[in-house]
């Protein structure tokens, strides 16, 4: 079980080595990647966060997931700073004896992380800088849990 907030890139194979131990039959991962938006020629994505709050907010979300589902392991890694298109932004991983639990917990982590963890994304294009707006769908997604 771990939560990390960092500027550096991470390596999925390294993160998943030994993940889940010997009792987990199902591992689900989600990886978020800087998307090269067709509309506006993205040059970089700047991710700001609230250092005093980020780690504890992610730990609270992770603890909530562990209460709701039977998880053998759980991981959240989220980067901040300036990222280029195609770079990894973040990942979550969940391990469980049962695939339904691993999937549900990973989706839950993502839904909460999107709307309840203190990160803000700004897209830097040739035309200027634009803060990414939150989507109504992201708030709605929380209602199912």
């Amino acid at each position: 079980m771990s939560v990390r907030v960092q500027a550096e890139d991470f390596d999925m194979a390294h993160e998943l080595a030994g993940f889940g131990g010997s009792s987990a039959g199902a591992i689900v991962t989600f990886t978020g990647i800087v998307r090269d938006t067709k509309a506006a020629d993205l040059q970089a994505m700047e991710i700001e966060h609230y250092p005093a709050m980020t780690q504890s907010a992610l730990e609270a979300i992770e603890a909530d997931a562990r209460r709701r589902w039977s998880l053998d392991d759980c991981l959240i890694v989220h980067r901040f700073g300036r990222l280029r298109p195609a770079e990894r932004i973040m990942m979550v991983a969940t391990a469980s004896a049962h695939r339904a639990d691993a999937f549900a917990a990973a989706e839950f982590l993502m839904d909460y992380l999107k709307s309840r963890a203190p990160f803000w994304k700004k897209e830097i294009t040739r035309d200027g800088e634009v803060w990414v707006e939150s989507k109504a769908a992201d708030e709605t997604a929380l209602e199912r849990w």
Binding site: G32, E48, H49, Y50, A52, M53, S56, A57, H78, I89, M90, M110, L113, K114, S115, R116, A117, P118, F119, W120, K121, K122, W131, V132, E133, S134, E139
Partner: protein, 82 residues
Amino acid sequence: MIDVVYFAWVRERVGLPKEQVETSATTVAGLIEELRAREERYQLAFSDMSAIRVALDQTLVDVDAPLAGAREVAFFPPMTGG
């Protein structure tokens, strides 16, 4: 005296990431009213309250939360992590 921190476009509109504020407000909403009365940049930052999120001592709260005992209040837009 309370520490006030700003993030993302709220920070950009206020023009600084952090300041100490002398306040007599008893709630977050009261503090926001005081700030708005000060200068136009605060009016700009807090012009659409539906787009403002608040944390008191690093915990998300509603704008009507009491300030009593809080050391740091944070104002920011809806989060866009993940």
